[in-house]
Each structure stands twice: as C-alpha cells, then as structure tokens.
C-alpha cells in the first residue's frame, strides 16, 4: 500500500509543478504588449478600429488577473484555449497531432535504449577490442552531431536516392499505424534512427563506463570465483548494478528527448505537436505554444515518476515509502 501513498504524493507535487510551469508561461506571454499581438493578427494594413476589435475578440482587453483566472478555470476542465487564427480549440488541435509524436517517442526510445545499452555492455565486456574502438568513434560522432544534421543526411543520401530509383518503402511525412504496418514502418524508421542516434551515444558511453567500473568490484570477483557462468556474472551482478546511474540519467533526459522530438518532427515533416508549435512561433499563436509547454511539463513529470519506480525495482537499496 505504501506505493499508492507514494504515487499520490508524487502526483500532487507533479500537479504543482505543472501549475507553476503554466503560470510562468502565461505571465511570460503577457509581458508582450497586447497591441503587438493584435496587430500581427489583424494584419499590417489594419485600421486602429480593426485592431481594437481583434483585441476585444481575443479577450485581451480584460484585466490580466481575470484572464489568468479564465485560463486556470479552462485548464482544470481540460481546455487549453483557442487558436488566435483559426479559432479552433487548442486541445483538439494538439490531440490530432499527438499520434505522430507518440509513435516517434515510443519507437525512438525503444531503439535508443536497446542500441545504447547493448553497445555499451558489449564494449565494456570487450574493452579495447576492435568493436570497442569502432563504437567509441561512433559515440563521439553521435555526440558531436546535431539531430537535424543526421536527419538531413538521411533524407538527402538515403531517402532521396532510393525514392528516385523507384524504391518507395522509406517515406517522409506521417502515416498512422491504421494504414498498415509496412507504410507505418517506412515512414517512421528514419525518424526513429535520427532520434535514437543522438541519445544512444550518451547512453553507450555512460553504460560502458559504469559497467567497466562495476566489473572491477570485489563482489564480481566473488561471483566469478564461486563458479557462476560469465553471462550470469555480467547480467545478474554487473549490468543490474551498473544500470542504476543510467536510469537516473534517463529521468533527466526526458526533457532533452522532447527537444529532439521537435527537431525530428520538423526535419521529416511528421506534423506532430512539436512541429505545430514551431510553426505557431512564426505566427505568434500563443495559446498553441502554452498548450505545448503544458503537455511537455505533464510528460516530463509522468516520465520521471515512471523512472523513479523503475529505479526502486532495480536497486533493492532504494525504498519508496
């Protein structure tokens, strides 16, 4: 039952964090003069009357605390406000754009962890081998390369040549899983690789270093000397202990992952919530950006709770009460 109490406490602090983020973003956005926003929306040739009308329509003429109250009231009811341009509800917009983002995050994370951890473990168990050297060069390049460059190179030198030679499996844009597993994979594999490459580099390095250190510990020698198989020594005793620092890094990296999502969506034109928000910046469409910031905060809070639970499951010394 302890875990229920723990979850309730974590969720409450999570709600406070989301509220803080929402409030800060809200007031940050109202540091801008209302007139500028309205002018942008009404167009350059607008008369003062038209601009005033735009201000009134958006409800920007009300006192700021009234607006804040409306904002919070709506937020509690799951309403993120309305787009300045289309008048469409922001939560409908973001909900429509969520599937590409979720596919990207889940697929990318799976690929990233599998590649990052397995390469790290193999490098550590075969330190100074050819594999280890090749992988550490790869890690350095992965660390030095921005996600969008990898994405662009994949488009320019994998997707384009294949596509122009009649090989239409790989594709840009987004196709939902409902359009069949083949097209879905074709659309998602390159974005997954891009997202995973950047993140995997960090994890390869981290898990290799941790495992090398762990394998030098006395209890590993004890495990070997009592006759355990090498596989059991490495996986049950070594990897398990080496993974805990890797996991705590995972909690920190959830925020960075969202940044990567924004970039990858833009490069491949997936049209997820990240790409929509980048476009919203160009249009001064503040409600959409507030919506994205809040969703990002919720994601980071939930992901961190999951990571902490995993941490407790992996490391018997950690107790959650």
């Amino acid at each position: 039952m302890a875990i229920v109490g723990y979850l309730i406490r974590r969720l409450l602090t999570g709600i406070i964090v989301v509220w803080l983020v929402a409030t800060i973003t809200f007031f940050l956005f109202f540091a801008r003069p209302v007139y500028t926003v309205a002018r942008q929306i009404a167009g350059h040739a607008a008369t003062p009357q038209v601009i005033q009308e735009a201000i009134n329509n958006l409800g920007l003429n009300q006192p700021i605390m009234t607006q804040y109250w409306h904002f919070l009231d709506n937020l509690v009811h799951g309403n993120l406000g309305y787009s300045f341009y289309s008048g469409e509800s922001v939560d409908t917009m973001l909900r429509q754009d969520l599937p590409p983002t979720i596919s990207l995050v889940i697929g990318g994370t799976i690929l990233w962890l599998i590649v990052g951890l397995s390469v790290g473990v193999i490098s550590a168990t075969r330190a100074r081998s050819v594999f280890d050297r090749v992988s550490s060069v790869g890690v350095l390049i992965g660390l030095s390369m921005p996600a969008f460059v990898i994405g662009e190179l994949l488009i320019g030198y994998v997707f384009q040549p294949l596509y122009s030679h009649g090989f239409h499996f790989f594709n840009t844009g987004y196709a939902g899983i409902t359009s069949g597993i083949g097209p879905f994979l074709g659309h998602m594999i390159l974005p997954w690789i891009t997202l995973a490459t950047i993140q995997a580099a960090v994890y390869t390095r981290l898990s290799r270093g941790q495992l090398l250190e762990t394998l030098g510990e006395d209890y590993i020698r004890t495990a070997r000397s009592k006759g355990l198989s090498e596989r059991r020594v490495i996986f049950r005793h070594g990897v398990r202990a080496a993974l805990t620092p890797v996991l705590s890094q995972l909690g920190v990296d959830m925020g960075q992952l969202l940044g990567g999502v924004v970039v990858v969506e833009t490069v491949f034109g997936l049209g997820g919530i990240g790409q929509v928000s980048v476009e919203a910046v160009d249009q001064d469409n503040l409600p959409v950006i507030i919506g994205f910031v809040i969703i990002a905060a919720i994601f980071v809070v939930i992901a961190n709770i999951v990571v902490d639970l995993l941490y407790a499951a992996l490391d018997p010394r950690v107790r959650i009460i």
């Binding site: 940050l28 921005p146 969008f148 460059v149 488009i155 320019g156 940044g259 970039v263 910046v281």
Partner: protein, 358 residues
C-alpha cells in the same frame, strides 16, 4: 644503473640510460605542468587543439577572406554564382572555392561568418555558465542546509526542463535573436556545472587544509574562493571544454528551427535549414556547413576527453608504456628483431615485459 627519469618509480622499468645527470636537483612540477606534458604527448588532443585554433583564426579573419575573394558576405552573384537554372554553382566555379548557396552567395565566406556565430555563442555562453555554475555550486556545497536544498532543487528543475520548449516560448514572446540564444544556452548550461562543483565542494570542504584556514580565522568567502576554488579548476576546465560543443550544437539547432539567428546573417544552422531544399542540385550546400559543424564539435569533444585523461594521474602509466613501446620498436626495427616486435603488438604491459628481458 640509477637513472634520473621524470618519474622516479618507473626508472627500473625503463631500464635504459638517459642523458641526465644523477646529481641534478629534482625539480618540482605543478599539476598544470604535468597535465600539459601529458596532453602534449597525446596526438589526438594536439590535432584537436590545432583544428580549434585554425577555426578560431578563420572566424576572426573571415572579413579578410571576404575582402580577398571580393565576395562580401551578403552579396548575391546572380550571374557568376548561379547556373542557367538559377541553381548554386559547384565548388571551384568562377572563383567560388566552396561553390555558392541558393541565392548565389559565396559559400566559403558564409561558412566562415557562420563560424564566428558558432564559436562566439559556444565560448561566451560557456564562460558565463561556468562562472554562474561555479558560484552556485560553491555556495550550495559550502553552506549546505536550506540554501543547499533550495539551490539543488532549482538546479535539478533546470536540468529536467525541456529546453527547446522554453526556446519556443521565449522566441514567441521576444522574437528570435542572437541575444535570446545566448540567454537560453547560458540558462541551461550552468546547472550541469553547478551540480559537479557542488559535489566536489562537499568533499573538499572536509579536508584538513580548509579546517586549517578556518582556524586561522578565514571567512567563508575567503575559504570558498582561495582554498576550495583552485582545487576545483581541473574538473571545471574539463566540463567547460565539453560544454562548448553542446552550445555550438544548441545554437545550430535553434537557428535551424528558425528560433535563432535570422537570415541573411549566416549561421551554420540556418544555412543547413535552407540547404535542405537543394539536396539533389547542390550537395556542397548541405555537406560543407555540416562538415564544418562536425569538425568543430568533434575537435572540442576530443580535446575535452584529452584534457580529462591528462588530468588523471593513472594516464601516466599508459603514456610511459606507449613511449617505451615506441622506443623499443625503433630499436628492434633497427636490429631486425622480429620476435620482440611481435610481442609489442599486445600492448603496454607486454612492452614492459619485453623491455625487461631486453
């Protein structure tokens, strides 16, 4: 034979006479001198350092290159710089060493001007972030208690915050600009440094010499900045070097998304963003800025790793083994000693063994 080597304990291992007088006074070397010696013997780090110096010089003298080629940075050459279809011309055409970009501007000059932005952002943000991070980490670690709790929580919050999301918000409010980029990157860089400095401060403040300073009547700020800080400089230097490439990548990403440096000012990020419309017709437009970016970040990453290894006294053994292996190889090659050479391939330890036998 008694040999005066640089490091006494290895004298018997090397077992080879050096032209040093036995009676010469032993000179003390500071930690920095030792680090520099180790760094200098690491080829990769030296190449990385050379690349960085060249990049910095090229960035500084970018206007000179523009003057030499008579191609101002934002000047378009619709006649010479574009082919019949209005596309960029390849490297080496009509005096354009790196070819031209989408509007017929000299790519070489623009890449060099892009280096100015990247290196400026990388170095300036890292400097400011280092000062902030060291201050916060020192204060949190030294005073502890409530101050530590508040600062540490704040640091963790910054580390976990999705930075591109905040960049989106700030760019929406204030409009994209170089200033926003510098503020943003600094804001997200100090936290990592603060965390490391705090950890180091926690262990250093328990040392006897801090106790001694306190008993001599030194105040907290004197202890923090005169006793603890000098001992922190090594890890701070390493992490600082490794933060520069992050900042460069960060700037390029923001400019790529249109949240940073705005056209026509060239930045590697916004050049690459434009280049993606010209994959098929102008590979150089995509590849040259990408390679410039990769070389720069790779050089800083390699140098950072090199400095970290050079700070670590354990590296000394590796270098000594490498040096000896080289010396033995040279001698054995001269004597045509195949057998000894085959033993050398195994590594430092094997080389030491061979050395003893020989």
């Amino acid at each position: 034979m008694s040999v005066q080597t640089d490091y006494g304990f290895e004298a018997h291992q090397i077992g080879e006479a050096q032209d040093r007088s036995v009676n010469a006074p032993v000179q003390g070397r500071t930690q920095w001198q030792l680090t520099w010696r180790r760094l200098r013997s690491d080829k990769v780090s030296m190449i990385a350092l050379t690349v960085i110096v060249i990049m910095v010089l090229l960035a500084i003298f970018a206007p000179a290159v523009a003057a030499l080629t008579h191609h101002p940075v934002n000047m378009a050459y619709p006649v010479n710089g574009e082919n019949e279809d209005g596309n960029p011309v390849p490297p080496g055409t009509n005096g354009f060493l790196f070819g031209t970009d989408s509007t017929g501007r000299d790519l070489l000059v623009r890449v060099l001007y892009g280096a100015r932005i990247s290196l400026f952002v990388g170095i300036v943000t890292t400097l400011i972030a280092t000062v902030l991070g060291v201050a916060v980490g020192l204060i949190a670690g030294y005073f502890g208690g409530v101050i530590d709790t508040i600062l540490a929580r704040f640091t963790d919050a910054v580390l976990a915050f999705p930075y591109i999301v905040l960049a989106l918000a700030l760019a929406a409010v204030f409009g994209p600009s170089l200033t926003i980029i510098v503020v943003m990157i600094t804001f997200f860089s100090w936290a990592g440094i603060a965390r490391i400095v705090r950890g180091q401060t926690l262990s250093i403040k328990e040392k006897e010499y801090v106790e001694a300073a306190r008993s001599l009547g030194a105040g907290p700020f004197r202890i923090m900045f005169f006793d603890i800080l000098p001992n922190l400089l090594a890890p701070v230097l390493v992490i600082g070097t490794l933060y520069i490439p992050n900042a460069v990548v960060f700037e390029a990403t923001l400019s790529y998304l249109g949240l940073g440096v705005q056209a026509p000012t060239p930045s590697w990020g916004n050049m690459l963003s434009d280049a993606q419309n010209f994959y098929q017709v102008a590979w150089w437009y995509l590849v040259i800025p990408a390679v410039a970016l990769l070389i720069t970040t790779l050089a800083f990453n390699l140098l950072g790793d090199g400095i970290r290894d050079a700070m670590d006294p354990r590296t000394e053994k590796l270098i000594a083994a490498r040096r000896m292996r080289r010396r033995l190889t040279r001698r054995n090659v001269k004597q045509g000693n195949k057998e000894a050479l085959s033993g050398l391939a195994i590594g430092g330890a094997a080389a030491a063994e061979t050395g003893k036998r020989g």
